[in-house]
Each structure stands twice: as C-alpha cells, then as structure tokens.
C-alpha cells in the first residue's frame, strides 16, 4: 500500500460483528488486544504496522475490520 505523505491508515472495528476470536491479535499484536470482553485497538496505524493490520483485516472471521485512509 503506497500512499503520499500526510496520509494514515485508520482502523475501524464493527463491534456488532466482532466475536473476539483473536485472529487479528495474532496477526497484528501491536495494534489489537483482547481484554476480557472487548477488543481494544489503536485507531491511526503506525506505517510499520500496516502490513500486519491488512493481514488482520482480510483474515477476520467476522469480516469486522475496515481500513481506510485519512489525512493525518
């Protein structure tokens, strides 16, 4: 994923869909964390974590993770 300066990837999780399987945590432990009955995650992604976050999104069993670009 190439992008111009000043852009960032923003993560959104649909909590209605998420069932806390933790696949995203395995793929991107720097970004996602399971705590008790919630998925916690960063919103704006460090460029170093983008590849891992993309893997989390495509492998999510509930397809609950959306990534989009926004201005920083």
């Amino acid at each position: 994923m190439r992008r111009g300066r000043g852009r960032a990837t923003v993560v959104r999780v649909d909590n209605d869909r998420c069932e806390l399987y933790g696949i995203c945590v395995a793929e991107a432990p720097e970004v996602f964390r399971l705590s008790d009955n919630r998925l916690r995650h960063g919103r704006r992604i460090d460029p170093a974590d983008e590849i891992a976050v993309a893997a989390a999104a495509r492998n999510c069993p509930m397809q609950a993770i959306r990534l989009r670009e926004s201005a920083r």
């Binding site: 399987y21 395995a26 399971l34 590849i51 891992a52 893997a55 495509r58 069993p61």
Partner: protein
C-alpha cells in the same frame, strides 16, 4: 516469461485474494476472473450463519479489496476445460481464454448422499448465497423441524442457526458425537451445548429410506425411527471441484497435485490455491494434502499470486499453520495445526485439547478460549518451525516423543516470553 494476462478460475476467497495480491505486487497486465456464481466474491462462512438466519444480506458479506482490482469479471461463467499445452481455459460455447499465467481456485462442492432425493427442492446442500435462500424457502413450506445430516462444523452451525431462528432441528449424525474430529473433550462439550439448546441429535444413525410426501420429507433411520422435516440439509463433507480439469495435463486426484510452492506439478505457469490445492506443507511433512479452511484459502491465494509472479524457480514454499474457527451458539471453537494427522489427543488445559502424532504436537483445539488459542498458536509455531531452504523435512519418525506433561510445562514456562507472533501464521 513476459506476463500479459493472468486468468483466475474460481471467484471465491482464494481467487479474490490472488487477484488482489497480483495488483498489490504491481502486476499491470490483464487479470481475468472466471467464476460460475452470479455474484462477486463473498464471505462463504456466513452462508450457514448470518446469511441463513437473515441477520445479514448478501450485499453485507461481499469481500472488500485492499487495492483497486481492475479485473475483467466473467461471472456466471463456468470453466469447462483446460488445455495446458495451448495455455487456454475453455468456456461454454467454444470460447477460449488464453493465459500467460493461471491461478486455479475452484474450491469444493458439498458431497451428496447416495439415495438422497436431490430432485426434491426441500433436500438441499449449503454452499452459496442461493443455497441459503433455498433453505429459507424450503423452511417456509411447513412448520415441521429442519433436519441436517452430518454432525461436523457445518451441521452443528446449521443446527445453532435453526435454534436462533426458533425452529426445531434434528441432527442425524453417523458418528457417536458431534464435532468428533475435535477430540472427546470438545465433542462432549458440543453435545451438552446442543442438547441444552434443545437440538435433537440422533447419533450413530444412518438413513435407510427417504419419503418425499406433500407435507414433509420423511427419513427412515436404521434404528427404526422416522423423522419428518420441512427441509433436509446434507452436510456430509465436500469434494474438490476439479472434474473440469480432467484431461488438462494436470495431475488431478482429490484436488490438484501441487509442489510445496503451490505450483501445479509439472507445469510452470499454473498455481493453485484454496480447497482444491493438494500440496505438501513442509512444516508438517512432505505429504501433499488439502486444507479446507477459509484462512488458508485467503493466504494461499496470496502465496499463489506471489509465486506465479516470482516464477517457479524463485517461488517460496507455502507453509501456513492452518487455522479454523466455528461458532456454536455463543461458543467459539477454534483450532490451529492439522488435527487430522494426530493419532492421539491430550488435554492441555481446561477447554484446550492437544493433538499428537508420534509424540509431536501437531494441532491444538480450544473451546471458547481465544486467549489460550493465541498462546498455543505461538507455541505451535515454535514446535513446528518452517524448514529452512534446501533442507527437506523428515517424515518425522516416532522418535523420542515429547510427553504431554513436558509440552505443557514448556508452554507455560515460555508463555510470557514470546518473540511475538508477528506474521508467523501467514508465512509472509
């Protein structure tokens, strides 16, 4: 090889992620995607869950690409043959689509049962969006219970979906337990869970005879029972969609025979991914096998695209730790590794079962323990390392088996000092 056109056959998870990966890697030739379903790729696991219950519509489960795909779609189009000598995919009506590179990802079809009256619209399988709609229509024909034949993943999820919809449901299972492939602990828990939700399970049952009356479908079981159903779903496993490849020059036999890199054996311009790929996963041994799980299809599609572009001699082996999940009512059942290889199971913790082959842990399954699954996935990744290039793995002989107790001790000793499971499962 100058690659101008890559053709992908099969527009499921594997084909879609393959096309996406080609574009991510900068392939700027033509990509043609041939799929026999009428719609763009969607999240197939939802078919027996949210789509069936009606809590999601087809448009809610369409897969989203991470980049512009710029694909030539040939949906509703079935590939009927392949000529590897002429590098062409054959379509109905005599049409041919030539390729410089080809990715095969035609997935699987649900098996039928000998004697099942499939001409009756109330006797169905579950694979596609249309199948889910067909089951819903059949359920509306009467208030009789739904019946599912098969007590595996899909059978159990179907039963849970029926209860969520307020329907009575009967599971006709030819084994002693539901989810029996997960070991006794999980199978017993699944049995209790389903019984608690008033799923009527008939174990060790075989169907002797079918009746298709006006008011319902009758199934005569071998213990003398007769059950009547508004709708019967056959969930007795699946078989790879490879009939169309007979005579293509590829080796087709329970899937397409592949090299460790997912290249089809014997050719250098065809890669294979998803449920039809029968390849040796060098993490485990040199035996080619198929894996029928969604995450493996997603990552396999990507690996096939990467390797096709890299070329056969630069290609890397595809060595995932297969992962799968199923939801049973509110319970998350997950596994990692290859449970089917095991000759034995060991309890590792509450809700955690280890699968052992010749003293080696080859898989772990968990009953509603996602944290434990994360830890065990990291542990299994270390116990089953990806062999380094050039060194083929031994077909692990039954040597000094690691006793389960040692496995458990090692696991707990190390669980707070992981290197970090970054990217390990996907083999990127």
């Amino acid at each position: 090889m100058t690659v101008e056109r890559i053709v992908v056959v099969g527009a499921g998870a594997a084909g879609f992620r393959a096309a996406e990966r080609l574009r991510q890697l900068g392939f700027d030739g033509e990509v043609v995607m041939i799929g026999d379903e009428p719609r763009k790729p969607y999240h197939r696991p939802a078919v027996c869950k949210a789509l069936l219950c009606g809590s999601r519509k087809a448009r809610d489960v369409t897969l989203e690409a991470a980049v512009e795909l710029d694909v030539g779609w040939r949906l509703g189009t079935r590939a009927i043959g392949l000529d590897t000598a002429r590098h062409a995919v054959l379509l109905p009506g005599g049409e041919e689509v030539g390729y410089d590179g080809l990715i095969l990802a035609t997935g699987g079809y649900p098996r039928s049962l000998p004697g099942a009256p499939r001409h009756d619209p109330r006797v169905r399988v579950l694979r596609t969006v249309e199948d889910a709609e067909g089951v819903q229509a059949a359920l509306r024909t009467s208030r009789l219970p739904a019946v599912v034949v098969g007590g595996g993943f899909i059978g159990c999820e179907f039963a849970a979906s029926m209860r969520a919809m307020g329907r009575e449901v009967i599971v006709v299972n030819n084994s002693a337990k539901l989810l029996h492939r997960f070991g006794d602990a999980i199978a017993d828990a699944a049995g209790d869970l389903h019984a608690g939700h008033r799923v009527d399970t008939r174990s060790n049952a075989r169907i002797r005879k079918w009746d298709t009356g006006r008011d319902g479908v009758g199934l005569h079981l071998d213990n003398g029972d007769v059950v009547f159903a508004a709708c019967v779903v056959l969930a007795v496993g699946s078989t790879p969609s490879v009939e169309w490849l007979r005579g293509s020059g590829l080796r087709v036999d329970d899937g397409v025979f592949c090299e460790p890199t997912l290249f089809a054996a014997g050719v250098d311009d065809v890669a294979v991914a998803g449920d039809i790929a029968r390849w040796p996963n060098l993490r485990f041994d040199p035996v080619p096998r198929r894996v029928e799980h969604w995450i493996t299809a997603v990552e396999g599609g990507r690996a096939a695209a990467e390797n096709l572009l890299a070329g056969k001699w630069a290609a890397k082996p595809f060595t995932p730790l297969p992962r799968a999940w199923t939801s049973q009512f509110d319970v998350r059942v997950q596994h990692v590794g290859m449970p089917a290889l095991a000759t034995d199971t060991v309890p590792l913790d509450a809700g955690v079962t280890g699968f052992v082959r010749a003293g080696n842990l080859v898989a772990v399954a968990t009953w509603d323990r996602p944290h434990a699954m994360l830890d065990w996935t990291a542990t299994l990744d270390r116990l089953l390392p990806v062999p380094t290039a050039g060194r083929r793995p031994r077909a692990r002989p039954p040597r000094d088996g690691i006793p389960a107790r040692v496995l458990i001790e090692r696991h707990y000793a190390s669980r707070h000092s992981f290197d970090g499971p970054n990217g390990i499962m996907t083999g990127q």
